[in-house]
């Protein structure tokens, strides 16, 4: 089974994020870059499937120079090879452009299974897996909390408000996973050593078969017109309850037109 896992480098979830005044883009230098948390689950699931069914796991990531650290992390968990799409033209790409580039790289490589985390912690849109499957004309099995591989049939379980959906498709398919699916492994020290020697392909936008003009800030379908820092939290009002606390709360709520 040939498996691809698409991963993204995101600013550390706990770090304070800033936008760059010059172009209103996320200042990726301002915070430590880490492997998007949900993508770790995607890598883990790929490795589990590989352990059970054999095959090869390739990590695919589009991102600046330093996103290679993220690919390395996935390789140190046990994946076999990496593909890094890095190009100055890509800066500021929106989800549509990202999906075009990923699809361009993924197609014709014979992957049976393409796995994504269901969202990135920086953009939180959850659209790229669906966009990629649409571009590739593949079935999409999204938000999986369980994946079963049975020959060429892939079945996933998705939790919904009313129960479980069981969705099935024949490979090749695109799957996105949620964090319930597994517990990502920690890379071993041996894995870290081995990762340095694993094959890593570096591609440009042109290599992905995508026109440079159709990606990046210029081609984005949405732009940030303006932004401002969140105002500091204002001091709250402290009401000492001397018997009339309930009334005071009701008055407060009424003044703020909440009741």
């Amino acid at each position: 089974m040939k498996i691809a896992v698409c991963v993204k480098q995101v600013p550390d979830t706990w770090a304070e994020k800033r936008l760059r005044p010059a172009d209103s883009l996320l200042d990726r230098e301002s915070a430590e870059g880490v492997l998007n948390e949900l993508d770790e689950y995607a890598v883990e699931e790929a490795l589990k499937i590989q352990e059970a069914h054999g095959g090869e796991v390739t990590i695919v990531s589009m991102g600046p120079e330093r996103a290679v650290e993220t690919i390395r992390k996935a390789l140190s968990m046990g994946a076999d090879a990496g593909i890094h799409i890095v190009d100055d033209a890509l800066s500021g790409s929106d989800a549509l452009a990202t999906s075009a580039v990923l699809a361009g790289v993924l197609k014709d490589r014979g992957f049976d299974l393409i796995i994504f985390g269901s969202e990135s912690t920086d953009a939180r849109m959850s659209v790229v897996p669906a966009m990629v499957s649409e571009r590739l004309g593949l079935p999409q099995l999204t938000f999986a909390q369980k994946v079963d591989v049975n020959g060429g049939t892939i079945t996933i379980e998705r939790q919904t408000d009313y129960g479980f959906d069981s969705v099935e498709a024949s490979s090749p398919v695109v799957v996105s996973v949620v964090e319930k699916i597994n517990e990502p492994r920690y890379p071993s020290f041996k894995g870290i050593m081995a990762a340095k020697k694993k094959p890593l392909e570096t591609l440009s936008v042109a290599d992905a078969g995508v026109a440079a003009g159709s990606v990046g800030t210029g081609a984005a379908w949405s732009v940030v017109a303006d932004f401002a820092a969140r105002p500091p939290k204002a001091a709250g009002t402290i009401v000492n309850d001397e018997g009339a606390g309930g009334v005071k709360i009701a008055e407060f709520l009424a003044t703020n037109k909440i009741i």
């Binding site: 920690y186 071993s188 020290f189 041996k190 870290i192 340095k196």
Partner: protein, 395 residues
Amino acid sequence: MRMYSGNPDVPDDVFRDVLIQIRDFVRTRVIPRENEIMSTDEIPADLRAQIADMGLFGFAIPQEWGGLGLDLVQDVELAMELGYTSLSVRSMVGTNNGIAGQVLVDFGSKEQKSRWLPGIASGEIVASFALTEPGAGSNPASLRTTATPDGDGWIINGSKQYITNAPNANLFIVFARVRAQTDKDPGIAVFLVPGEAAGIEVGPHDHKMGQEGSRTADVNFSNVHVGADALVGEDGDAGYRAALTSLARGRIHIAGLAVGTAQRALDESVSYAASATQGGVAIGDFQLVQAMIADMQTGVMAGRALAREAALAYQTGEDRRIAPSVAKLYCTEMVGKVADLAVQVHGGMGYMREVAVERIYRDVRLLRLYEGTSEIQRLIIGAGLVKSAKRKLGS
């Protein structure tokens, strides 16, 4: 002249990733479970499994034998990360990588290494270092456990105490007397004794002041028979030298741990000082509290610089005697003061169980006792300096 050109087995870029990983592991997987470790007096099995899978049981064991092969310059950086959480977690992997494992690495034969080291590196084998005896702690040269020749092997008799990881040890590195002690010759040899050997009795685990999750116990050897291949080093002399070498290296590791724990106590204190209030004022706004924090920060930075310096001097061979003792003495005393201040900054809260600094206060007390008490470090430093001055005068 100092020449340190890095560790060829673990280049800087690999080591960087290892450190990032350990830091992340400590912060996301161990810290949330500190109180569980404390209240159960046990490292949870799943955490131990992760630690073993990662390779932490063999970080200082050479790659040839299945370990990661960190040198001491790197080891001390790792120690600073491990020191940031419950010290019992470090203790679980500490004997394998440190005092016990290094005796094999430095003094074992090829056969001995290939028999034991791969299992030690993977964590399948837990190795314990059995030197201390009642009445022979600071002065191990006076130990009374004996090994007497028997056919082509040896018979070991005696009692050890406070032996870390003894309750689940698969291998004891046992120091025993083979000759009477003289001025020139301590007469001590070191033996590799499998944990399942007949005649070994491990006592109930000790009830300690801190470091819950790490176990020590008495170990009794009565007529324990081991083969000739159990003796470390060709002659009987290697033993005591092994103990001293292993301990000197370990002292720098402990200095690193102390710095890591001091950093944690400091971080806990700073965030507490910034958020806790008295009369509506953050306690961190009181200058007397700021002074405590300043003293803590100063101790941490001085300790960190010293631990790194000592590791470098050890690694290059420049100083393997004075510097390890200096680093252990300063850093473990420093963390004692820092932990005390941390409790002070926390006020009554600092005296309560499940508050990190309360645990730290107890955990770090041990660092000034084992692997040479502070007094013993002072003796090594002072006597060492005077001795070399005398030698210079004499020549």
